[in-house]
Structure formats: C-alpha cells, structure tokens
Symmetry: C2
C-alpha cells in the first residue's frame, strides 16, 4: 500500500521569517497539516507558520492532543491516539506536515510520534527549524559559543546545580516553573546570565543580568549562563 | 555619520533550502556581500547562498582573509585587517551581508568581527542559520535530544575524554583532524555513535556505528554520541 510521508517541520522560535525555504515549500505542498495541540488558536507553532504561509489556513488540520504531563500512562494513551489519527491520513496516501516550535530534532513532542510512525513502516522526514537557543543569542546580538568553549543545553525543570558546574556556556530551557529557585542558584554561584522571554513573539522581553530576571517569567523563557565572578 | 549595518548571516550547513526567509531577504537587500575567505570559489557558505539567491553573484564581494590557525598574532592581524575592510564599506552607509556556514552564533569566525565592529559603534545584526548538529540529526531521521536529556556540544579538536562522560547526548564537532584517536576512545568506551560527513553537501556520507567511522574523515564531519553497552 502506498502511503504518504510524515514531515516533522520545525517552524523556529517565533519570528515567521526564521522559517526555512524547505519548511515553507513542504507546508505548501502537503495537503494536510497537523499540530500537537487541540486548537489552532492555542498552537504557537501554527500561529508562526500561518503568518509565513497563509494558505495553510485553507487546508485540513489534524489537531493532536499532546498534554504536558510526566504521567506515563496519560502520555502513552495520547501518543497512541495521535499516531492513529496521523496514520489514518497517511494511509490514504496523503502527506502530512506536523508543525513543531523551534527545531524538530530538539526536545520536540513530535519526536515520539515520528518514531512510532517510522516503526509502523511509514516514511517520515525531519525538516529543521532554528532552535530557540540560537535565536536568543542572535536577539541579544552575542555569540552563543565560540572558540574552544563547550555548549551545554540543560532542561532546567530538573536538577541544575551539577549542570551549572560544567565548563563552557550553559543554556537553561524550560526553567519558568521554578524560576525563583533557578535565579537564587545563579545569584549564589555568581554566574553571568542573559535571558530572553518569548523570543521573536509578541511580548518579548530581554534581561541582561541575573538580578533582572523576574520570578514570574513565562514558559517561553531561555537563559544563557556563563561563569563569572559576578553577574554583569 | 550615518553608517551601514553589518548583517552576520548563517546560511545553514549545506542544503540551500535550509536558508531562512530572513537570510534570503537580507542577502537580496544588502548592496555588498562579504565572506570569510579569500575567494568565492573556496567559500562553502558563499556556494550555498548563491544557489538560493543567485543575484548575490552580481554584487561586490569583500573577501576577508581568516586563516584557520591558533597563532594569536596571525589571528589578531587578520581580524584587524578584515574589520578595516568591512568598516570602509559600512562607513559609506552601505549594508554588508557577511556569510557564515551553519548558524552565525555558533563557533563562527565572523563572531569576532561582529564584536569588533559593534565596539567601533557600528550597528550589527545576527541572522540565524540551521546549526550543523540539528541538520545532522534530521538527516539521520533521529531525535537529537528529547525529554530530560542534556545536550553537550564539544569542539573535539581538544580533549574529549572528560566531555564524553557527561550525562546525555554528546555532539563532537571538528573531530576530523584526530578522527583515529576519537574513534579509538569511542570504541573503548562502548559508545553508540552516528556520524554524517558533509551533511547536505556533495559527497555526503552517513555512518551508523562507531565501527564504520573512517579515520580519514573530512573536515565537515559531525558525530552524535550516546552512552551504551556497545555501539549499535
């Protein structure tokens, strides 16, 4: 049976102009769009993509329920349901463009779906987007990493003390839910921190030092941390 | 005095379709192009960009001599010379698009030029490109990093033994010059390795295990390393 291809498309972190030519072409060519959200209106990746490629609004959109939870049973049920929905369309030989915020290979929920659809013998393809940590460095007009420095990307909703001791540049992602603790740890360690909240989106805010970081920062906040005797 | 803007443009790792809409627009709008190489023919970033935006071939191109050396005096002299060339054009109120392979914020030679031009009070702007490590994961159709995993980007021309012990996914960049040693270290540690050489360029090659890695791999080789009892 001939099946369609599942394209996992990274749409970048916010600015629609950061979409790649390839992402734009494939969204135009795919007859069906899919999003990891129940409604288009709530899906940041969709809102970015539709600004760059307005015609996707005219295409059928598969809305997949992918809640943010660490409950394995709930996740398993949702992934299974989402794969079923995707495969129904793919098995009708229709290509699907599944939209992801940032890059499709970096901490994307869609990665789990990609692996399962692949395992079921259906062709899949990843299309890169600009990852948020690169966009944040560009927004700050600063190098992310240079020379012999190492770069460490740390999902900060877990333990960060040990990660901060790593040599080189540290990027803390998903720190919002415990920003008070993160800020305290950074202050005590004398790190130099820059932060961007909602990079490239409405309501974007830049913070140039650890002291400036608000404890009520939103979900789309990313910190770039360097060692230093004190914060700049 | 009104001056032009220096745009640092990441052109991605090889596939011209991975250029962003923003990079394409700015290359079209800038009257002058600059490359970190003596000749267009030798400049991979230029060769990628000109495929996506053929009209840059008609624009004047500043060819900056930026040799790959660790000799600080040579580097200092070259950076100074390159900045002088860029600023001559910028001070005539002409915008310049300086092309960089991959992302402009990640290990780019152009970062040094950007900092100096900024210090001289001239406006600069970074335009992201897809970093090579994201493109390699997409090419392999595999997650780069997911869930609670950390991601470590390691310039492998230096010591790598300690870096390999880090928890999570390790990306080794610039390993080519000592690939024999790197391969030996990976084999002894029982790591699972995937490698792509010349991702998205002519002569691209994929290697699915540590054992397959050729010791004569070229400069544009990137390894994704995971812990494991043995190589896949």
């Amino acid at each position: 049976m001939k099946t369609g291809v599942l394209y996992n498309i990274g749409v970048g972190p916010g600015d629609p102009e950061l979409l790649t030519l390839k992402a734009v072409r494939i969204m135009r060519e795919c007859p069906v769009i899919a999003i990891p959200q129940r409604k288009k209106e709530d899906c940041v990746a969709y809102q970015i993509a539709v600004q760059a490629v307005p015609e996707i609004a005219e295409k059928p959109c598969l809305c997949l329920h992918m809640p943010m939870t660490k409950d394995k049973n709930v996740l398993e049920a949702c992934h299974k349901g989402a794969v079923k929905i995707l495969e129904e369309t793919l098995c009708q030989d229709q290509d699907v463009a599944l939209l992801t915020l940032g890059d499709s290979t970096v901490y994307a929920t869609a990665l789990y779906l990609n692996e399962r659809v692949k395992q079921d013998g259906i062709e899949t393809c990843m299309v890169n987007g600009i990852p948020s940590f690169c966009a944040v460095a560009a927004r700050l007009n600063l190098p992310l990493v240079s020379g012999a420095e190492q770069l460490h990307i740390i999902p900060a909703s877990y333990q960060i003390e040990d990660a901060l001791k790593l040599s080189g540049v540290k990027v803390l992602m998903k720190a919002a839910s415990k920003m008070g603790d993160v800020k305290q740890t950074l202050l005590e360690g004398g790190y130099r921190t820059k932060m961007v909240e909602r990079c490239g989106m409405d309501g974007e805010r830049l913070f140039e030092s650890t002291e400036e970081i608000p404890e009520d920062a939103g979900y789309y906040s990313l910190l770039i941390v360097r060692d230093g005797e004190k914060s700049e």
